[in-house]
Structures are given as structure tokens and as C-alpha cells.
Amino acid sequence: MKRHLAIYRLAIRNSLIRDMSFKLNFLLWMLVEVLWFIGQLAFIEVLYGQVDSIAGWTKWELVALVGTHQIVAQLFQAFFYVNIAAIPELVRTGRLDLLLTLPIDAQFAVSTRQISFDSIVNALVGGGIVVFALLKLGIVPGPVQIALCIAAILLGIAVHYSVMFSLACISFWSVRAQFIHGYFNLFMIGRYPEAVFRGAFRFIFTWLLPIIWVSNAPAQLLARPFDNPWPGITALASGTLISLAATRALWRFALRRYGSASS
């Protein structure tokens, strides 16, 4: 455990050095994310140019939801996205060998190679938007809500992590796994209020794969204190446990199949 922490600290330090030595790139990545965020806010503006409420959500409640989605997605991107997206390439080239021989857990090794600091800055921007939306709504969340919200965000990141990691494991069977880059499309539905979804789609993405709750649960806690937060938190917590366990099993199964590329 101690060794893992020490290694992670080194990875963080190296990533910071890397990000700071390519400052222009760092700033351009931030610009990309800011553009996306502005696009999403413009979309909300268009939607509320048509109606006053969507499934009972007012404009600033939806802004808070999109801001929360930004926090979760950016934190996931900061700590895991690049690492998981690199797995298919590690498998294809056989560079995974090196990571497997390290005296630490292999899943830990592939998941924590680098951290993107630009995404952390963008998560803070998302946080700023949430605060602004809450001011507009005239809501001051209490310490319990904030604590639960942080817990829900962490669970959401864990869901993100296990779904994408499982997809990356497919690369052990299919050499080219570029589909992994389309992964963020899947999570876009998390930006919509959960109340708009119905039927089988709703069941799948709230209970089986709680993607809809990932942003909705923390956003509800803050922006809609009159909603009952427990269905969301329960679904997120159980979903996290199940999907993390499944991911671990899949990873071990996949590794047994791994025979390296060149040897």
C-alpha cells in the first residue's frame, strides 16, 4: 500500500512537470474544454428559449446539472481517462509487459500512469458554474448535502472508471480498439435530468449501469433539495460496487489471455 502511494506521488509529480513543460498545449486543451462547455450552455439557452421547464427542471437547475456533469467528467479525465484510453495500445504493442513486471498491482499500474492537470482546472470551472447557478437559485446547501454530494461525485467517477476500463479490456481480444475514444458519447445522457427518461432505457441506465445518476445524484442534492436523494445515491453505490468487482474479474480474465505482442 505504502509503495503504491509513493509511486502515485511520483506519477503526479512527473505529470505536473510534463504539463508545465508544454504550456501552450496545456492552455489549448483548456480552451477545447471551455469551448465545449460554452456550447452546452448555449444549448441550454436554446432549450429554455422554447419552454420554461423541462420535466420539472428550471433553467438554473439544469445549469447546475451540466456544471456537476462537468466536474465528474473532468475529474475522471484528470485521473483515469488518458490511462485507460492507452490500454489498447499497450496491449497491441506489447508494452504492457513492462508494467506487468512491476512489483505493484498491475491494474493499479495501468490506471495511474499520468494525471492531466488541465482537466483539474476545468473541473474547477465546472464547480464555479455550479456555485453561480446555486446563487441564481438562491440555495445555500448545508454541510450534509455538500458531504453527500462529494461522496456521490466520487462514486460517479468510480462508475465511469469501471465502465470504461471494462471496455478497454476488449482490446485483449480485438486488436484495434479505437472505439474507446467514442466512449464519452455514452456519458452524454448524464447531462439530462433523470426525470425525462422512461421505460427500458431508464431501467438500464439507472439501475444496471447507473450512468444517468452519475451527474443527476450530486446535482439533485445541491440544486433540488426538495427531491428525495436516496434512490440516486443507492443506485450509484450499488452500481459502483458491482461494476468495480466485475471490472476486476474481467481484467484478471483478460490478463490470463494476454500473450504479449512480439515474443
Binding site: 444549448f43 422554447q50 423541462i54 445522457i189
Partner: protein, 269 residues
């Protein structure tokens, strides 16, 4: 000009892609889930009222709009071309191709066309299924002329999207890392081509900019043509603007290519 060699490039492209079925399968899932999400969101906006009209769209018209954007996107949007072109320039693989009697732009276009053709063929059953499931909402154009105009503007949209990707990739002659630039352009494309909402829902003061922007003609315009929302003079004018953008980008692409070749020094190759 000898087309046989580009036909061969097309064929190799088809074979290369067909090996990777998982890629196809998961990409389509990633494509369909957001579409369903979007439909749910708009259904909540319309409050299940079929007669309600928002910005001149009924709920059914809006469903037709989104289903058609998915179709056009699958038909024409390049998926990896800009990365491959930039990669060939950066890694010096271009040298091997320069030695062959090939026009690089035509070569890349043959590969693009093969990938799109195959991808469309594979994805078509899925797209048809979506159209079948949404059939209560979708109206097909009654006039032959509309179909022809839609076909023509989709071909122009394909040329436009390919040339945008190609032109952006040319930057790799000057910069090692073009990922951020590709994504900056992509974020404009994503919202301004009408993928997220129909562009005529934007306020009136933005509409002149929408009319002259190249992104409008990458996807939004063909769909509007299909839905019969652009007719007569507006149709002729729109297709003229679309063709003009294709021409402008072609000139830009070939100019950058020539300038880039003068700088090219085959790193490591």
C-alpha cells in the same frame, strides 16, 4: 488519370476495416445511446403534445431532423482520416507514398470513400431499424426533386467534411502535435453543424452568420433540404454557398500541401 489504382486503394481500405468488427459494433452503440437520450429530452420539452410547435418544429419534425443527422453523419463524417494523414506526415511514412505515382489527395479521398462506404453498409441495417421504429414520426419527401437535391447536397457535404479534415491535417507539416487544433475545430463543428439542435432555433441575429458559415453545410443543410424546409431560390443559393466552400477548401488544401512539401524532411524515415 488512371482510376484503377485508386479503385485498388479503395479495395484495400475496405479489407482493412472489415477486420475490426468490434470497433464497428461498439461505435454504433455509442452512436445510438445519445440519440435515444436526445429524443427523451425533447419529448419532455414537448410534453407529449403532438400538436405543439417549437421554433416551427413539431415533435415529429424534430425526430425526423435528428434521425437524419444520424444518417448523414454516418454517411459522410470522417472518423480517423485527419489522424492518419497527420500521422503519415509526422512519422515520415509520407516518403514511401511520394515515390509512388499517386496524387496524395486523391489517394486519401479513395481511402476516405472506402471507409465511409463500408461503414455505411455495415451500419445501414441499424439506421433503417431506427427509421422503422420512429416511422410514426418520420415523413419522407414526396417530390423526386427533393431527393435529388438531398443526394447532391450530401455529396457536397461529404467533400466538404473530407476537405476540412484534410486541410486541418496539413498543419502537421508545421506542428508536431495537432490534436488540440483538431479538437478546437471539432468543437465548433459539433455545435455549428446542427448536431445538437437545429440551427434555426438560434436567435435571429445569429442567422446571417449561420447562413455563411461552412459548418452549416456539413450536415444541417442537407437535412433541411431533405425535410423540404429549403426550397426554390433558397435551395439554389444554399447549394451555391456549399459548392463555394468546397472549392475554397480544395484550394486551401492544395496550397497548404505544396507549401508543406517544401518544408517536409521525412523525420526518421
Amino acid at each position: 488519370m488512371n482510376f484503377a489504382k485508386y479503385a485498388k486503394v479503395f479495395e484495400v481500405g475496405v479489407q482493412n476495416t472489415f477486420v475490426y468488427r468490434w470497433n464497428f459494433a461498439l461505435r454504433s452503440v455509442f452512436g445510438i445511446v445519445p440519440l435515444i437520450g436526445t429524443i427523451f429530452l425533447w419529448r419532455a420539452l414537448y410534453g407529449d403534445d403532438p400538436a405543439r410547435v417549437l421554433s416551427s418544429y413539431t415533435f415529429s419534425a424534430l425526430i425526423t431532423y435528428f434521425a437524419m443527422t444520424v444518417l448523414v453523419e454516418n454517411l459522410v463524417t470522417p472518423t480517423e482520416d485527419e489522424w492518419q494523414i497527420a500521422g503519415e506526415i509526422r512519422d515520415g511514412k509520407l516518403s514511401a507514398l511520394l515515390l509512388k505515382p499517386l496524387n496524395y489527395l486523391a489517394y486519401r479521398f479513395a481511402l476516405y470513400a472506402s471507409y465511409r462506404a463500408l461503414y455505411s453498409a455495415v451500419i445501414m441495417p441499424g439506421v433503417l431499424l431506427i427509421f422503422f421504429l420512429l416511422r410514426a414520426h418520420i415523413t419522407l419527401p414526396p417530390e423526386v426533386l427533393t431527393w435529388l437535391a438531398f443526394g447532391a447536397s450530401t455529396v457536397l457535404a461529404a467533400l466538404l467534411q473530407f476537405l476540412v479534415a484534410y486541410t486541418v491535417a496539413m498543419i502537421a507539416f508545421w506542428l508536431l502535435e495537432i490534436t488540440t487544433i483538431v479538437f478546437i475545430i471539432y468543437s465548433f463543428e459539433y455545435f455549428l453543424s446542427g448536431r445538437v439542435f437545429p440551427l434555426d432555433m438560434l436567435p435571429a441575429w445569429v442567422q446571417p452568420a449561420v447562413k455563411w458559415s461552412p459548418f452549416t453545410y456539413e450536415m444541417y443543410f442537407p437535412v433541411q433540404v431533405f425535410m423540404g424546409r429549403v426550397k426554390g431560390d433558397a435551395l439554389v443559393q444554399g447549394m451555391a454557398i456549399q459548392a463555394a466552400w468546397v472549392l475554397i477548401l480544395y484550394i486551401l488544401a492544395t496550397t497548404l500541401w505544396r507549401a508543406g512539401l517544401r518544408r517536409y524532411h521525412a523525420a526518421g524515415g
